[in-house]
Symmetry: C2
Subunit: 443 residues, 2 copies
């Protein structure tokens, strides 16, 4: 490639959907790209709950960023940004490396928010990373194991109540999948307990689950969840999370496993820019995705408080990809001496969420407009997710696993790794933290 002078340096922070799409849009541009991420892998977050619930294994939905971005003009660094000097156009990394940039694309997404109760994090893990998914899988599967052991010892076991806090898409998908595991997939595995008696409940603070969906689909979702035996309690705000139970005001709800799907907050890297943030900590950007006064900076994905045609852009995968692509194309134009003329417009193709094995709701906006639910919605979900998975190998492998699980009612990835403790089961007499089976949430 002919270079006129010194190549412009583009720094992309974050290897999620936005960061990858930005790098892809710039792969033939006359720039030098550095992508920095704390992890060595990109995670396909829409399928993370399937890792948590033992259908898929981590390597099927995550791939090394280096393996995805192989363009000659792109380098990948596994490191972490600890500070920006936006006046000097520099970022400092944890390792001490200082990177200068001509363009910065910041796309570090969001993380769990426990609304100031960070002590709940250990008791009610959320679902953002591969490690989170493996931890949730460990807890859910372990609950059945511990109950089976407890039956041997005492002839009874604590109720297998699984509590999902938050009724957004992640909460709904997790709840449906836990119900499937208990009722379909591990049914034949136990001799003393009946996994099908497990109860899954979604506790949602607002009046409706799937708040971003139209009302008719919210209703369909509740119906489909009910058909799976999942209880939905709306207007229900959790006031405390304890080992073995949660509190809703004065009411105590037993929980052998509690999962957090209630809130997210912006990545703390937005605040390092020193530009205006909204109350969630997201960086307020203009129509070109720039924070005020910084045409050389783009903020994309969940971290951006962006609007499209007057409406706020939601923090999900699709707009993140589109923003990353927009930022990349804008830079590609500028280094050729041209100018991106159009502001960022979110082409909303719709939203969908699965509800267990073969049901879903889909609010389709493109290529046609319509509300789907049940099996048609689920099929649509399946095709779209296979299509967007990165890498042929993963697509094939995920499809095979889904087909197998669907046909044989058996999941592919039911390993419990890590220790054998569950919050709420007695570990006092066990300083080493191995398997114990006496619940303290009962008796």
């Amino acid at each position: 490639m002919a270079t006129g002078g010194v190549r412009k340096r583009v720094l992309i922070v974050g290897g999620g959907f936005a960061g990858l799409k930005a790098a892809e849009a710039l792969k033939d541009a006359d720039v030098s790209i550095t992508l920095v991420d704390r992890r060595n892998h990109h995670t396909f977050q829409p399928l993370l709950y399937q890792v948590a619930l033992a259908v898929l294994s981590p390597n099927e939905i995550a791939q090394p960023i280096r393996a995805i971005l192989r363009a000659p003009n792109t380098q990948v660094l596994m490191d972490e940004v600890v500070g920006f000097d936006v006046a000097a156009q520099r970022a400092t990394l944890k390792s001490g490396v200082v990177l200068e940039y001509d363009y910065l694309i910041l796309a570090t997404g969001s993380t769990h928010s426990y609304f100031g109760r960070e002590d709940w994090a250990k008791l009610a893990p959320g679902l953002k990373t591969i490690e989170d998914a493996v931890e949730i899988r460990r807890r859910v599967l372990l609950a059945f194991e511990l109950a089976e052991g407890e039956m041997q010892e005492t002839g009874r076991h604590p109720a297998l109540n699984f509590v999902v806090i938050g009724g957004g898409p992640t909460g709904v998908e997790l709840a449906g999948a836990i119900s499937d595991i208990a009722k379909l997939y591990i049914r034949r595995d136990f001799k003393h307990i009946d996994p099908a008696k497990a109860q899954v409940v979604i506790l949602e603070g607002s009046p409706h689950i799937l708040g971003a969906y139209p009302e008719d689909l919210q209703k369909k979702a509740v119906e489909q969840l009910a058909a799976l035996g999942v209880r939905v309690r709306t207007n229900t705000r959790v006031t405390d999370v304890q080992p073995g139970y949660v509190m809703v005001g004065d009411e105590r709800i037993d929980a052998v496993v509690t999962i957090w799907a209630a809130g997210v907050k912006a990545s703390p890297l937005g605040a390092l820019l020193g530009v205006p943030l909204d109350k969630r900590g997201c960086v307020i950007v203009d129509g070109q995705l720039h924070p005020e006064g910084h045409p050389e900076i783009f903020v994309c994905g969940d971290l951006a408080a962006a609007t499209s045609e007057g409406k706020p852009v939601p923090g999900v995968a699709q707009p993140a990809m589109q923003m990353g692509d927009y930022a990349g194309r804008s830079i590609a134009l500028e280094v050729r001496g041209e100018q991106m003329k159009k502001p960022f417009i979110y082409a909303d193709k719709g939203d969908m969420a699965t509800i267990g094995r073969s049901a879903a709701v889909a609010n389709v906006k493109w290529p046609f407009k319509g509300h789907l639910s049940g099996f048609p919605a689920w099929l649509t979900w399946l095709v779209v997710h296979i299509f967007f998975l990165i890498g042929f190998r993963n697509r094939f492998s995920v499809f095979r696993n889904w087909a197998y699980t669907y046909a044989f009612f058996e999941e592919g990835s039911r390993l419990i790794v890590g220790d054998q403790n569950l919050p709420g089961w007695d570990t006092q007499d066990d300083p080493e933290g191995h398997l114990t089976t006496r619940p303290i949430s009962q008796s």
Copy 2:
């Protein structure tokens, strides 16, 4: 099944090769079987090094024990034996459950031995469990990531020396696989370092690697390792393991990652029986696999100090399976009022070890006798391991992964999970233990 009186209770401790084979041999017998294991999964240990080196993912070589043992007369408990009362024929579990048995099959295998230097365990992990494999993978892949970052900061990086302590089959297989990763699979991933410059060295205390193999195959193995660039140092006893290096007497050998493949010791459960042990802690058993004075107890697999036709039975997968099967069949005969007449005889089909991608050594004893090396040995290894893997799904999946890796020089499971530290890289200025890239083993 018609039951004459009260069913005999068989307690199997350990879900490895021996325990599973014992349960399988008893699946149609008129007995009630309880299998206890600390983990929920069986691990196919011969392929564990391929998880450690990113070719396979954990769920391809491990499977829930419950999913394997579905016979109506068999129950599985995820728990841990903490004591035996052999006079009363009772075992106490960690959870407090007490299990009475008519027959006990103890098959809890072996664990790493650091020869009294347990402080080395964190610096030089061994390879026995899925967790071990994921930890070794994390360290090996992280070493390249940290070196890439270090190049950015200082323009140099510590030598990528990988030290494998121990030249048995596991050490040889790990060393060959690390060399493959560096030289073939991740070559294209880095812009600043040349992974192919990585050095792998095997430090073996005795005069020969692969001590159990005939001399000509030992030589072939050294040649094939040399062709991969792996150095083999025999008569080399490690005297200290430190972050970033190991000591052999006065000589210091830099090691960005150190792996322990030097010694195993018997599972501590053998000692709980109160019967004679050999100096490795293995339970001394007679020709019927019983410890002295206990015809109701069988000890199988690595934990047994057994002899077959006057020769000690080696602690590998094949004899473990055969012992488990023998114990199971013996009990099945006894409950029918018959008697196992033959002592246990180990039908040795030979041994093999792979040396990287497409080489191996095989000491074949059945169905023909012969020494294979190079590609024919590797092909034999491949067919045998696919055959013995449990479950069609795993067989298919592993085969597909191998074919893909072989054809496209790209591995399937290169995720780094867990934290971003490596012993020997400076973490002093980083109390949270995130990524740092300043090596303390240099300068």
